[in-house]
């Protein structure tokens, strides 16, 4: 029983990170109908920038700020320069361009920082808390991870639901031409959407870095986990992305704890296939098309 609780706690922690990556993918998919296969590369790159700050003696918080800021910039530039020309074109073109960006970022990171993974410090101790004399698989750092993701989700929810900017962002994503007719500068909204998504992704990168290490291909699996979580939730649903991330985090934690930690990525593959076969549009997909 303790083991189950512990695995669940560990699952929630990593699920929070998956949820953040999934949310980054969903925000971009909703806005531009592009699955950003470069997301893994983008968060890898911003985490490397944060690592550089820490490595040069900067504080954890400065590094986190650098990662988030660079995420915003990379996301905006990627949309403006690379994705804008292929938006609305054949889906394959968008896939190829984002894959090209992913490969390019990976190569650039390898050139700058080398191919050997580096360790990354956690913000707080990773020693598990104790409850009733039992050591839990939940450390102060894990609590920070969960809290940071929750905070970002809450902030995004407020932004999207409560503010005029959020309304314009949603309108631009749902119906670009109608949004333009209401005076929304759709191009700017799409760029901002990518920037926000990349920011969420870069947060996920810094949070997971202590456990996966920082290297050019260390975050490949994160893209798979994030995509799987997003598909579980339905690529169109931000709330679904969060639930999908937590479900996947727990499922993989059980796989890792009860069977073998080597089966985690394979488990994600199995989960993805199972969901796609049963509900190809995600567990939370309500609509299959939209009427105007």
């Amino acid at each position: 029983m303790v083991r189950f609780v512990n695995l669940t706690l560990a699952g929630i922690t990593q699920g929070a990170v998956f949820a953040a990556v999934a949310l980054a993918l969903v925000l971009i998919w909703r806005a531009t109908r592009v699955v950003n296969f470069a997301q893994g590369g983008m968060l890898m790159f911003t985490t490397f920038l944060a690592w550089t700050v820490v490595h040069d003696g900067g504080s954890y918080w400065l590094a986190l700020g650098v990662a988030l800021a660079s995420g915003l910039v990379i996301g905006a530039v990627a949309e403006r320069v690379l994705v804008r020309p292929v938006e609305g074109g054949p889906p394959l073109n968008a896939v190829i361009v984002t894959l090209g960006l992913y490969v390019l970022l990976q190569a650039a990171a390898g050139m700058i920082w080398g191919d050997t993974p580096h360790s990354y410090p956690p913000a707080f101790t990773i020693k598990g808390l104790t409850a009733g004399g039992t050591r839990l698989l939940l450390s102060p750092f894990d609590l920070f991870v969960i809290g940071a993701v929750a905070l970002v989700m809450a902030a995004l929810t407020v932004l999207f639901v409560r503010t005029g900017l959020g309304l314009k962002l949603r309108a631009a994503a749902f119906a670009p031409e109608i949004a333009r007719l209401q005076g929304v500068r759709v191009g700017r909204m799409l760029t901002l959407g990518w920037a926000l998504a990349a920011l969420v992704g870069s947060l996920a990168g810094v949070l997971i870095a202590p456990s996966v290490f920082v290297g050019p291909s260390q975050f490949d699996a994160m893209l798979v986990f994030g995509f799987t979580a997003a598909v579980i939730g339905g690529l169109d649903s931000p709330a679904g992305a969060v639930v999908g991330g937590l479900l996947l985090g727990c499922a993989l934690s059980y796989v890792s704890g009860y069977i073998s930690s080597d089966l985690v990525t394979f488990g994600a593959l199995a989960a993805l296939i199972a969901v796609l076969m049963v509900r190809p549009n995600g567990l939370f997909a309500a609509r299959t098309g939209r009427r105007v």
Binding site: W29, V35, V95, G100, V103, A108, L272, L276, M277
Partner: protein
């Protein structure tokens, strides 16, 4: 007198010419180049299979590296446990991977666009990790993988015959056979129905095509090619290990397909050559200009990334299509008597596969006067032209 036989004869002639060219090439270079030729040859198999699936079938796969892993491990296992001879080993690699292709294809046939891309990406990342699973390490050798006994060159070739050249011959034979079979397959009914299913799924279904079955068949064919490529890789590298099949391998294969031109078999050869020779050129350039190891080893990746982006933004149909447009425009300005010698008709320096280009039209034109002086060279989007020519003859 079937057009089918004509096409077949032409493809056979192309294959024979390719083998002769490769014989000349492999015997005139050193072991290092032989090894590179072998690599290019097995990559050609995988890229050709992928270009049929993605270019003609319209299904993207980011997971062909995983198919190659299946082929490589199959070859290693049958060789280690049962000591199967080389040909049987490679056939087993292709067949077992084709069976894996049935499973993947059944799933993939139901998926579209980014869902398909994501699922195959998960396949590429998830499958090679199985080798590390503790219950399978006894069988699959874990992180270190399985070693494969290198093939022994036949005694008839002499005792000093280099192993690398023999490996290159094996891989090249595999590539030529793959290209020959794919050229015939895609030039015929299969290729036409595949294109129909890609262009308009509903219309194809209304014409009585079973689109889902067709897609599975395409995946199976494509997987068999990748499996053979994996088997050849195991033979050439004498090893099957998870480290040989990272996500970047799958992405490189798709890069080669895009760079060579979606759906064209000659493009697959180009793409595979680029995958092998760009890294070697990059490391030469890096060592001569004093770049660090980190920069040199990542330069090819950076180039692929840039090229993928540039090609998609500049030539939406792929580099081969772009070159063909340029070649077609140039040939249009030449007098007809010179057209057959103009570039674009055949691919010089590459095994002449089956381009249906301007250098072989005599029999065609005798039986069916061709109203289109461009020939297959000016056609877009149709599997290298051999199929197009064959179809036109049959009418």
């Amino acid at each position: 007198m079937g057009a089918f036989r004509l096409t077949l004869v032409r493809h056979l002639a192309g294959a024979a010419a390719g083998l002769v060219a490769l014989y000349v090439l492999t015997t005139s270079v050193g072991p290092y180049r032989d090894l590179q030729i072998a690599q290019a040859a097995y990559l050609t198999c995988a890229v050709a299979g992928l270009t049929v699936l993605t270019g003609l079938g319209g299904q993207i796969s980011l997971g062909h590296g995983a198919f190659m892993a299946v082929g490589a491990y199959t070859a290693a296992l049958v060789s280690a446990h049962w000591g199967w001879p080389l040909a049987a080993m490679l056939a087993a690699a292709a067949v077992v991977t084709a069976l894996a292709g049935v499973l993947v294809g059944a799933v993939a046939a139901r998926l579209e666009g980014p869902y398909l891309a994501g699922a195959t990406l998960a396949f590429a990342v998830g499958l090679p990790g199985l080798a590390n699973y503790s219950h399978l390490t006894g069988l699959l050798g874990g992180q270190n993988g399985l070693t494969v006994t290198p093939p022994v060159p036949p005694a008839a070739l002499g005792e000093t015959f280099p192993l690398e050249r023999w490996q290159a011959w094996i891989a090249c034979a595999g590539a030529v056979i793959t290209l020959f079979l794919l050229a015939n397959l895609t030039g015929g009914r299969f290729g036409r129905t595949l294109r129909a299913g890609r262009d308009d799924e509903i219309a194809a279904a209304l014409c009585g095509l079973r689109v889902a079955r067709l897609r599975i068949a395409a995946t199976v064919v494509s997987a068999a090619c990748a499996g053979l490529a994996g088997g050849l890789l195991a033979v050439v590298a004498s090893l099957a290990a998870p480290g040989a099949f990272p996500l970047t391998l799958s992405l490189q294969l798709i890069a080669a397909v895009i760079i060579g031109g979606l759906g064209t078999l000659p493009g697959a050869v180009w793409g595979a050559l680029i995958l092998v020779f760009v890294p070697s050129w990059a490391s030469d350039a890096a060592s001569s200009s004093g770049l660090s190891h980190d920069v040199a080893s990542n330069l090819p990746l950076a180039i692929y990334g840039l090229v993928l982006i540039a090609v998609t933004l500049a030539f939406p149909r792929g580099l081969q299509g772009g070159l063909r447009d340029i070649g077609g425009a140039a040939r249009r300005r030449l007098p007809p008597s010179l057209r057959r010698f103009a570039p674009g008709g055949g691919a010089p320096g590459v095994p002449a596969t089956h381009r249906g280009g301007a250098d072989e039209p005599t029999t065609d034109q005798a039986s069916a006067p061709d109203p289109d002086p461009e020939g297959a060279g000016g056609r877009d989007d149709d599997g290298g032209g051999a199929g197009g020519r064959g179809e036109r003859l049959r009418r």
